[in-house]
Structure formats: C-alpha cells, structure tokens
Symmetry: C2
Subunit: 242 residues, 2 copies
C-alpha cells in the first residue's frame, strides 16, 4: 500500500483566499518531484472557471494543472496522472460524474497501487473515503451508489460545525445528524474535520494537520476530540475493505 | 382531486413546544369530523418515544393517534386511515422505510383519490412533494429513488435559513445549495419554507400560512419572497405528473 493522501476539510477558510490556509501542507505534500497535477472539477457546474481558479493557485505553488474536463479520455488522463486533486462543490454531482466516466476504480487503483499522491478538499475529501453517507450537501442528483473511492475505510464529515447555542434555528445540529448515522447498523467511524483541519495519510500512518481540532464519532461510543498533530493511524486498521 | 394538505416547515419553533407554533392551523385543518390520525414515525430511530410525543400533542387538540409502527399490516393501516401525519427526522431513512413497506403509492392514492387529509412536518413535508432532492438531511441510508409521494408537483426546502453574514463558516449557504439544484436540467421549483411557515393545499388552491415569509426558487429566475396569506396556487399547475 503506497497510499499518500491529503484530505482537507474546506477549500477556503474565513478571511483567506482559495486554499490559502493549507498551502504549506500542499507544497510539502506534493513536494519537489511532482510537476503536473490532474484536477477534477466535476463538483461545480462551471468547470472552466473552476479550473482557472485552481490553476492559478497551484501555479503560485510551482505546479502545472491539467483539468480532466478538457481531456478527450478522462480514464486515460487518470492513468497518466502524476498527482490528483479533486475539488469541492456538490458531493452527489461529483460522485455521479466519477461513476459515469468510469473513474472511481481507476483512481483507487492509481492511488493505492501506484502511489499517485491524492489531494481532496470538501466534496473531494468525501468521495475519497469509504462512502458519501456523511456529506453535508444536498442530494441534487443521485449517483448509482453512495459507496465512493474508498481510499480510507472510514467516513469524513468536512466543514464540521459545533452547535451554536445562541442559534434559534431548530434544524438538526451536525452532531445530531452524525449520531443518526450511527443509529444505523454497521456504520463506520466518522472523522469530523472542522474548517482549518486536514488529514495526512502516508501509507498506514494518519496525522491530523491544520489549525483546528477534529472530533471523532464512532458507533456506540462517546465522541472524542483530537488536537492538530494527533496520530490517527488506528482509523486505517481493519482494512478488509480493500 | 380531493387533495387536502398541511405541509409544515418545522415541528418545533424556537422557544415553543412540539407543534405548538402551528397548533391552531392543525386544529382548523383536521377540524371536527376527524377523530383518529395515523402517525408515521419512520424518520426517527426511537419510534415508541416519538409516538408518545405525538400522541400527547394531538390528544391535547382532541385527536386520537394510531402509530403505524404498531400496526401488524402498515398498508392496511393506510387503507383505513381517516387522516395521516408524517413527522420529521431523517428524510432518507423515512423515504426508505416508506418504500420498503410499500406505502408510497398507497398514501398517494388515499390522499389524492380518497381525500384523506395529510399533514407533514419537516422530513414529512419533504416526502410529500415530488422528490427529496431538496432535503437538508444527511444521506445516512439510501432509498431506491429520491422520487417521493408526489402530492404536489414541486419541491419544498423546509427549515429554510437565510445566509448569516456574520458567520465565519464557509460551507455553502442554503441559497447556494438550492441554486446548485437548479443548475441541473429539468428541476422543478423549490418553495423554501422558513421555520414558522407552512403551506395549506385545498384541492387546487395553495396558501402560505404561519409567521414567516417563504422564498421561491425557480430554475433560471431570480428568487421571490411571499408573505403569509399569499396565494401560491400557481405552483400546483401543470399537473401532468399525476
Ligand atoms: Ca459542498
Ligand atoms: Ca431532518
């Protein structure tokens, strides 16, 4: 397993520019040897404009970007990619496009077998996990299944939000929604990444990075908090899922 | 079409008790001749406790409640129902249970053909519409389709929340999410019901009730606001969907 993943909660942190809060971690993650990154913009409707934003940001960090929506053969683009970045937007739309274009198993193979570095942000992080059952997005379209690329054997909830006790809104809190997920049988753990946090996975080691804590929800157990720097490798065990 | 519907945004309004903010409208809607209401609690995990809450509230308004989860034959319970109430919780879990128990077409028939009064709240309102594509809930389980009971030919977004410009959270606003829905082809209008509002449908007349305005999103058009009392019957036209 040559897996290398950078799974970011959010693309933009309050007060900052696109991917600004994690630019150091991005540069460290892709390093000196990667020259070109394959960008997957399917989570947003306007893919040209999305690709422009992403290209500008990655060029400022020293990387060229190829957006897969310009490729004649997307599967071939994944087969040739040095590195992959899937951006945020609507998770259902993104996963539906990945299935329609036969990219789910191709990305999984490239990342887990060939060691192609993979970065996801927000919806791009959701689809990297075992399933999108813990996305925050609206089901505006339906993919054939909520099972996803499966680069890790657990779920992530990006943009995790603590309950605001001053709010008068009566919809479910994020914690209540994740607790409802774990009322269902055989549901995996959910790593809830607050905005500003991200998970680095290097083979079988997982480390929390960023500026905020993460909250882990496991079925039948009280939720627990982890500080940046925490070793979360235990989440990667039990990999009968591969 | 003998349709009678009361579609409520939220079960509890800030500072009030369960269904307190809409109890007058409930009493007016079910009126003097209805004695028993069939309650459908599938959106929550603890259905016994849910049925107790609902029974107490409706008894205080003069109605007896039968919870369908106690019925030996749920389809038969719908066939005999004088009136139906579907409560809130997780919309995906609710719709999956309705399909598993073969209740979707049975409820549609009872309400549209036999004129059985139907009340929904939150998730119960989502499943009453054409589809659950505009639920706010997390997809903790998957129903066979997001197509729903279809008592009206449009979508509702319950618990609609205006963007809070003081928030530092960077996840999509509700308006952005609904705009993403309308980026998809052939998507129906979405009536966004703020907490405190509800839609009354009597045959082909639809009226906004409650204490807050509603916001209407139509594909390719600017969003529009409606005050309580507004006639929204135009949303019911074009009923080729039946
Ligand atoms: Ca999103
Ligand atoms: Ca709900």
């Amino acid at each position: 397993m040559r897996r290398r993943l950078l799974l970011v909660s959010n693309s933009t942190l309050y007060g900052g520019g696109y991917l600004q809060h994690c630019q150091e971690q991005i540069a460290t993650f892709f390093g000196l040897h990667i020259k070109r990154i394959l960008f997957i913009p399917y989570a947003l409707h306007d893919q040209d404009s999305y690709a422009t934003t992403v290209t500008e940001k990655f060029q400022s960090l020293g990387y060229e970007v190829d957006s897969i929506h310009k490729a004649l053969n997307p599967v071939e683009a994944v087969r040739k990619a040095e590195a992959i970045f899937i951006g945020g937007g609507n998770t259902f739309r993104l996963l539906k496009a990945l299935y329609e274009k036969n990219l789910v198993s191709e990305i999984r193979k490239r990342v887990l077998q060939d060691g192609v570095p993979f970065m996801g942000s927000s919806a791009g992080t959701n689809v990297a996990t075992i399933s999108i059952h813990t996305t925050n997005d609206m089901p505006i379209v339906m993919p054939p299944t909520l099972g996803a690329i499966g680069l890790v054997p657990f779920n992530i909830n990006p943009h995790y939000l603590d309950h605001d006790s001053s709010s008068r809104h009566m919809g479910e809190s994020r914690e209540q929604r994740l607790t409802q997920y774990h009322e269902e049988p055989n549901t995996p753990s959910v790593l809830a990444l607050r905005e500003g946090s991200m998970l680095l996975v290097e083979e079988n080691k997982a480390t929390l990075l960023g500026s905020t804590r993460a909250r882990l929800f496991a079925r039948g157990k009280p939720a627990t908090e982890y500080e940046p720097g925490a070793d979360l490798s235990f989440l990667l065990s039990g990999e009968s899922w591969l």
